[in-house]
Amino acid sequence: MTTSPPTQTSARASTGKRLQIDVWGDLACPWCYIGKNRLDLAIASSPHAEAITVKVRSFELDPGMSPEAKPNLELLGAKYGVSPAEALRMENKVGAIARHDGLPFTRDRVLANSFDVHRVLHLADTYGLAGQLLGDLQRTLFSGRANVYDHAVLADVASRLGILRSRVEEVLSSDEYADAVRADEKEAGDLGATGVPFTVFDGRFAIPGSTSIEGFTNAINRAWSNQ
């Protein structure tokens, strides 16, 4: 799934070089949300921005998750056996970082199986809109505005970007792109990814997790200069 972020200047015209960045992540992952924003900012401020392509790759943190959406904090308590107060404190910490980065974030959001979301992201890629759709879904989910795992909401968000609603519904009523999701997940496993976000620059340099804007900038420059 590929997208080109907003650009400032073009290095492509003068050098002919390109840089692909593959990012594995899951919608449910708050650090994928924070990391995507930071990576986008790093790319936007890079002199090579126009020559950089971001490929959105699928990764389910919990393939066994129920398709029925449940409150985030309820699942946190159920999975890790933490008290409601402790769960709140955990959420507050990552939430404070997200808000410091200018991202809407609420602990009052839902979680559900993300497989269908990943399939629609693959559809979005055929429109060149995977990154944009992922960003819109993340903001909608983490702001608590809507349950984006719900097929109708998912179709709403996708169609607002110009993706044919009928195609979204077609994908959601079939197993279209299921193989693509599984292929992404297999590749992540083959590469040794044990968590997300997992970002690979030029197919060679990896960052296993989210880092700062500066960290992403350094990785871009390193990959660019080593081509």
């Binding site: 404190r89 990552v94 970082i97 968590g195 997300v196 620059f201 990896a206 997790g209 990785a219």
Partner: protein, 49 residues
């Protein structure tokens, strides 16, 4: 794709595929409470699944 190097970036956080736990390692201006920060030991867990 052939990963030849893990870039030595300081990791702010990630979600673990095995457990579904989301680990926050970053501290700083975004943290809600300096007092609470000082009281913490180890990583913080959120949820991604």
């Amino acid at each position: 794709m052939n990963i030849t190097e893990i870039i030595p970036a300081e990791i702010s956080g990630y979600c673990d595929a095995g457990t579904g736990e989301c680990i926050t390692t970053e501290t700083g201006a975004g943290h809600p409470s300096a007092t609470e920060n000082a009281a913490q030991t180890g990583d913080e867990i959120s949820t991604g699944s």
